[in-house]
């Protein structure tokens, strides 16, 4: 069985759903036409969409429902909803369920406390590729707690992992480093810092590993007191005990392993065998799961776009095959010619892309339909960023890069 899954917790726009729909069509028509035959329908789902948080609104939004209907008309596509988040938001999914009752699931598995747990369902997918026991699952968190519900989702993911006897990793990047701030004391919300300490304690009692690694650059920028003794050891006096502030390289070292790593908006694509093979036997680097970073936000307004490129450079440097795709509003990073005052500490994103493009293991792409939809074009000087349409996007998502033998590809939306 080939199984791919998407986890969405942020808003799902019609634009995003549409390119996903097109890439699924590409998968079924061009790569796996046998799945379209009625008598060869596999019993298990090939594509599963795990929806929580604001992504659930797309199931009731008249703009996105028609796209979901097309997606659900394809063979073996399933949606699993976070039932508690549906209830919280008062979202009705009856229209979609009526036509596709077997494909749209709004009942979650029961956790040990007897309550339905969407994250227990997520864990079933997150651990399906695992071979060694106990397995590991990882979560990349890029948003701060309390302002963003995703921090709560990250905690629930880790709790579900430990409950399922998996070792857990938390990777705190950008504003995600605030999850580990010491002395959190929210009056109207679950205490994320305390929750992380409890996860760590529970994991230790069960003999499981629990690592919480925060990016040193992101932490230093946000005022976490750090000290470097010249050996790379960084100590913070304002973070909770399990939280380790480390060089980004140490976080990326974890990405070299084969476990599933999810984020608020992310996907795990099982790699199709038969992609382009390297002429020599697979090297050590070939076993590292490749990563595709979707840059979906406008540049400069937030740290997301630069954070993605910086993360990509670090991954590529560690020998991970890395692709960066500018898509949706992320294409604004490539429009016009960006100018920056001399001597500023900030980066001109176009200059960064131009300088690092061509590095070993790193490739840049721009999704042409996103440019066209916004009536803009790519800066002609950025010729290292390749224009792609749906067929190329499908190839990038469903075929492993040359020489890669890992069984899945990580996709993370920035």
């Amino acid at each position: 069985m080939t199984s791919h899954f998407y986890l969405f917790g942020g808003p799902l726009s019609r634009g995003r759903l549409s390119w996903i729909e097109e890439s699924l069509k590409f998968y079924f028509v061009k790569l796996n036409p046998q799945n379209l035959l009625h008598n060869s329908k596999p019993r298990d789902s090939i594509f599963t969409f795990l929806l929580t948080g604001d992504a659930l609104y797309s199931l009731q939004n008249p703009e996105t429902i028609p796209v979901w209907e097309i997606i659900l008309s394809m063979p073996s596509v399933k949606i699993i909803c976070d039932s508690r988040e549906l209830d919280l938001r008062g979202i009705s999914i009856e229209r979609l369920k009526m036509k596709n009752h077997e494909q749209v699931i709004d009942q979650n598995s029961l956790a040990l406390n007897g309550q339905p747990s969407f994250w227990k369902d997520v864990m079933k997918f997150a651990r399906q590729h695992e071979q060694p026991v106990p397995s590991t699952v990882g979560y990349l968190q890029m948003e701060s707690p309390y302002m963003h519900q995703s921090a709560h989702a990250a905690l629930q993911f880790l709790e579900a992992g430990v409950e399922g006897h998996a070792s857990v990793d938390l990777y705190a990047y950008l504003d995600g480093v605030h999850l580990g701030h010491l002395g959190q004391n929210p009056s109207e919300s679950e205490n994320i810092g305390k929750g992380l300490e409890e996860v760590n304690d529970k994991a230790q009692k069960r003999g499981l590993s629990c690592q919480m690694i925060a990016c040193g650059r992101c932490a230093a920028a946000r005022g976490y007191s750090t000290w470097d003794d010249g050996q790379g050891v960084v100590i913070s006096t304002c973070s909770i005990k399990p939280f380790k502030i480390r060089n980004l390289k140490e976080m990326i070292d974890m990405f070299e392993r084969n476990h599933i790593i999810l984020a608020k908006d992310s996907a795990s694509i099982q790699m199709k065998k038969g992609g382009p093979l390297a002429s020599s036997p697979p090297a050590e680097n070939g076993r590292k799961p490749p990563i595709t970073l979707m840059v979906t936000r406008r540049p400069y307004g937030t740290e997301m776009a630069f954070g993605a490129i910086s993360f990509a450079v670090a991954c590529a440097y560690e020998g991970i095959q890395t692709r960066v795709i500018f898509i949706e509003d992320g294409v604004y990073a490539l429009m016009g010619e960006h100018k920056l005052d001399k001597g500023t500490h900030f980066f001109n994103l176009q200059e960064v892309v131009d300088a690092v493009a061509g590095s070993e293991n790193l490739q840049f792409f721009v999704f042409r339909p996103s440019l066209a939809h916004r009536g803009i074009s790519k800066n002609k000087k950025l010729n290292a960023v390749l224009d792609i349409g749906i067929p190329e996007l499908g190839q990038l998502l469903f075929f492993p890069p040359t020489g890669v033998t890992a069984n899945h590809q990580r996709v993370i939306f920035f």
């Binding site: 010249g230 390289k249 450079v313 670090a314 300088a355 070993e360």
Partner: protein, 82 residues
């Protein structure tokens, strides 16, 4: 040509990833024959040495003190075409 040491940028505050990005931008701007120099920490020295020498640059490193190094990068001469 000798560069005035006072003009050499001090990158010791940068993370390894951002140091790579800064250097690649400087090398791109400087053209093929130019030498790019900077001051870095001990751990940053290793970040520069291997990847740049493997990707066609001549890397020279001079120790200034226990945790301070002066690094210079220059594109290697590809030699005469066959």
């Amino acid at each position: 040509m000798t560069i005035d040491p006072a003009e050499i940028p001090d990158f010791s505050d940068l993370t390894c990833t951002n140091l790579m990005i800064r250097l690649k931008i400087l090398l791109k701007k400087s053209g093929t024959d130019a030498v790019v120099e900077c001051l870095v920490r001990r751990d940053q020295r290793d970040t520069i040495d291997v990847p740049f020498s493997h990707s066609g640059y001549e890397v020279k490193i001079r120790k200034l003190d226990a945790n301070r190094y002066r690094v210079s990068l220059k594109k290697k001469d590809p030699g005469p075409k066959p």
